[in-house]
Each structure stands twice: as C-alpha cells, then as structure tokens.
Subunit: 325 residues, 2 copies
C-alpha cells in the first residue's frame, strides 16, 4: 500500500508498504482523511525517535473486524494499552490502577511503536474506536482527536467559570483550546506572533493580543500551545501567583525553567495530553465548536512531503492528507 514513512528525520512516500494485518481484537480501517499536527512535525525533528508511518488524527471505515463494526465510519483513540490485550493479572501498574491512558507498555498510533494513519489502511483495537454520527462530515470528524486533547484541560482543571484564561499560541491546537474554553470562562484571550493565526481567532470571535500586549500576572489559567521556549516564557509571565499553567505542547529540548519562581508564586504546572473522544464528538455534532475554517490545505497522500512542508510554515492551519484525493 501507499503510505508516508518517517525515518532518520526525513519523510518519504512509499508504495511498497505491506498492508497492516489486524491482530485479535483489532479492526482494519480504510483511511478517508487524516490531519497533520505539531507532534507529527516534531517526529520529523526526532521527537520520540519514531520510525514508521506517522498520523494519529483520522477518520476511516472499518473493513475488517467484528461484524457489528464492519462498515462503520470511525475515529480512533491513539493509545493502545496493555489492557486491550492482556488478562488482568498481566497488566502494567497503570492499567491495573485504571489509568490506562498512562499504560507503561502502551503503543501510540503513529507516535510510538505502532504505525499510524498517513497510509491507505491502519489497524487499531476495536475498543479504541468511536462511531461518527452521519451528520458529522469526515473533515469535521478529523478534528475529534485534537479537540479531545483540548477538552482534556477541562477534565483536569475543574474550572468554575470565573477564570481569566490566556491561550498562548493561536495555531492548530491553540485554536481548538480557545474555542473549547471560550464559553466556559469569564474571560478568554489568545496571544501569538502569527498575524494569520491571530486572524483566525478573531474570526471565531475570540479576543487576541500580541505577545508584547499580554499583561504580566493577569491570568488565572494560561494554556501553552506553542511548544517554543518564548511561548513558555510568555505563559509564565502572564500567570498570576497561585495560578495554573497548562502545557499542551511537546518541546524538542529541555527548557530552562525558573523553578524558584514557581515555588514562590505557588504556580501549578499541569501537563496535558489526550482527552475524551465522546465529548469531542458531541461538541462537533451539536455544532458547539466550529472547526472547518481551520483547514487551510488538502493534499493527496502521495504529496505527503509537500503537505508536511506546508504544515510547518507559519500561519498554516490544519493540513489534511487523503489517500483517495
């Protein structure tokens, strides 16, 4: 089959990839469309030392699996955890404790030890699948995975609605974070460097600021979505004492952090990763969160190299890849 292949910091399109074969408990899924996110670009720079087919935001149709699933249009959670396959007594401590998102033996589709969806087919455990309602299009449903990651913040923080929130980084993930939070808190602003990305926030009715317009110590919660040291610095400076910094992005290197200032100001720093698919699907089906305007580009899978290049340019929104385009 055709697929994108990452190895040694570069990406190539290959037409000699073996079709994936589902193991017991897995489905074989034909990919309709997949999205490129910051983590995919990070893989190219060496993040997670990944070699294989990337891609973890996708929509497809089950072609092989239990009869009740064959033909279903699905999105797919990305963590493949040992409790998917192992009997209770053979599970890792995290799965045994009911925290399978942090399975110590997990594979992650397109990120860690398992091929992803920038290909014609992909396999995943049946338990990771969620059916997409008929009235949610492929191009909307492809946002379920990143939107779920954005909604994870609400699961973690227990917001009471009175918070002043700043989202640092109005890119792909930052947009979803901002749109998921804007109706939930008393004040939400987005800050960033890119005019294009800020424009997308404005179009969605969200207040935007340049980095140098952000007031120091003015926000109860700051969500860092840039993955860059200067974004982290803005996040730290804008968080009030006693406030919370949510870190959503992966960074290529260790960051120099003034830990003493976190102690003196009693800052909470919260790492945040994957989130609830059902909540994301519901928000999209009910139209509570708009996403289609975030798509800036559509590429055929055979043009994956160009798609990745485009996704890495400033101001690019969601770049989609489709095997059938």
């Amino acid at each position: 089959m055709i697929g994108a292949w990452v190895a040694g910091g570069s990406i190539a399109v290959r037409d000699d990839l073996e079709n994936p074969r589902p193991r017991e408990g897995d489905a074989l899924i034909r990919v309709h469309v997949a999205g490129i996110c910051g983590t995919d670009l990070g893989l190219l720079r060496g993040y997670a030392s990944f070699e294989g087919i990337p891609g973890h935001e996708f929509v497809g149709t089950v072609e092989e699996g239990p009869s009740s699933w064959v033909g279903a249009r699905v999105v797919c959670e990305i963590n493949v955890t040992c409790d998917s396959y192992e009997a209770a007594e053979a599970r890792c401590p995290q799965c045994s404790a009911g925290r399978s998102a942090h399975c110590t033996r997990r594979e992650v589709l397109g990120i860690r030890g398992r091929d992803g969806a920038f290909a014609e087919w992909v396999t995943a455990p049946i338990r990771n699948l969620h059916r997409v309602p008929d009235d949610v299009s492929d191009e909307t449903a492809v946002f379920v995975e990143p939107l779920a990651a954005a909604l994870r913040i609400q699961e973690q923080l227990g917001l009471d609605g009175r918070e002043r929130v700043l989202v640092v980084g109005p890119g792909r993930l930052g947009q979803l974070v901002a749109r998921s939070l804007v109706a939930k808190v008393s004040c939400l602003e987005v800050t960033g460097r890119s005019d294009g990305a800020r424009a997308r926030s404005k179009a969605a009715g969200i207040a935007t600021r340049n980095f140098d317009e952000v007031r120091g110590g003015a926000y109860d919660v700051v969500v860092e979505c840039t993955g860059h040291p200067d974004g982290f610095e803005v996040a730290r400076a804008s968080t009030r004492a006693g406030g919370t910094i949510v870190v959503k992005s992966t960074y290529n290197n260790v960051l120099p952090v003034d830990i003493s200032s976190l102690v003196v100001d009693e800052i909470h720093l919260v790492g945040s990763r994957c989130g609830p698919f059902p909540a994301a699907l519901a928000a999209l089906e009910e139209g509570r969160i708009q996403v289609l305007d975030l798509i800036t580009d559509r590429f055929a899978l055979s043009d994956a190299r160009a798609a990745f290049k485009r996704a890495g340019t400033s101001g690019a929104g969601k770049v989609l890849l489709s095997p059938t385009a």
Copy 2:
C-alpha cells in the same frame, strides 16, 4: 541593637543596628530564639538580592503594641501584605481577591524588603501574630513557620490517604514534610544522600532509601525538598505518570526541565510556599509531630557567622540562634 546583617553575599554580626520602630498596626517583639533555614542560606548566595537582617522562623514576646498583646509569647507569619495597612480600595489585585499570601506588594520578614528576626527585636503586623500555648516550649514553637510550610502541601493537594508519597531530601524541611504526611497517606518514604539526615528519618520511624534505590515512576506524589538539580531529577523520575511533584525549595538557578515529559506523562508540578500557622501550632501542642530531635546546634546571636556556616554543612539539622544565649 545586635543583629546579623546580610549584604553582598556575606553575613556579619553588627552591634550598631537601630532598634526597629513599630508602625501603626505593628508590634515590637523581643526575639527569644530563631531558626536558620535553607532560604536563609540562599540569601547569602544572592537569592532575592536581600540586604538587611535575615531570619523568619522565630519565637518572641510582644513588648510594644496593643495592650491585649503586650507580654504575649508569639510566633509570626512572614508575609506582610498590603491589606495589613491599606484601605480596601488601595489594595493590590491579589489582596483584593482574598489571596493576600500572594500580595504583589508584600514584604517578607527577613527575605524581601523587611528586616527579620536574627536580631534582638523585630517588628511585625499584629495580624501576623499567633499566641504560643504555655505548654509549647520556645524550641518547639520555633518550628511553627517551617511546619506550616510543610502542612501547606495538604492544603494544596487534597490527599485521599491512598497515596504513595516520596520526600526527596531528608534535611530540615524534608523532615517536617515527611513527619506531617506519614500518618496521612498509605505509604511514605524519604530519600537523600546524607547518612545523618536519613538516620533522623529512621529514628522518626520513616522508611528511607538512597537515591539509587528509588523506584522509577512508583510514587503518586513526590515532594522535592533539596533545592538541587539532582534532587529534582530524582523527583521527576520517581513520579508516576499522572502524578504530582510538589516543589518546596527555592533553587539558585534556572533548572533544565524536560517539559515534554511532563506533558506526555501529565505530571502536575505544584509550587508550594507558606502554610497555616494554626494547624502547625495545634499539631505541636497535641504532640502529633515531634521536632525537638531535629535541633542539632544552638548558637548565640553574636556567633551568627559560625551558625550559618554550621547550617550549611551536610547533615546539619535545625540550627538555632538566640540573642540571650
């Protein structure tokens, strides 16, 4: 009066200091005994660019102030906040929001903009004072401030008692943290490099481990009390995914932190500073937490230089200074 004086990274004993004069709302307190903590040693290394009289853990007697307070033996909260002196409309945003511990205009006794207690007298706002019960000795009561800081962790975390907790650093603060938590959680261990400090944990009935015996990812909550990069590294490595690192210590420099690992593992990093004096006084009065064995040395105020030197040696416990010794 006599007092210790920190300036330009060195400490001297001076006998030419002016007696402090209480302003409206303040008490003048004659110091009985004061304790040296890691932050005091940090001030000598340039932390907070402090110049003046250090000392923020102390017991004394009110000599001037409202008649109801004169003669009272007291301990004293260290944050002098603008809501102590200012009318509501003139207060900082944090005080206005009821978060005066994070007053943006605060002075901190012996740390920031205000002289502390390594002297014969010190002044502090009446509202910062807490009466010491007769059956709590000076040498016990001098632990109220650091024990309150240890108890802050319980205020912040909302422990349910099932946690496995590791305290990194069995020094002065780490001992109080461990002793305050050991009866509250299902498992508590202390790790550190110093044999002497580990021995004090053992004597208090607390399980101890060398750094290299600590199991990776095995603890729900890890409290970092060393203030050293290698301590932070042990703390990070021993925290399970989804777990919490409480940072109690100030560091001299920025630390290189692998933020991506905090994101992927959804770690909560919680800065923790000052805590509840009433709870600390109650724990000491009821004998729930023992502290006297932590005292290793007693110096006269006139020997403050030697006392600081001793406090900076490995294995030193609490070093006390007394103007009347």
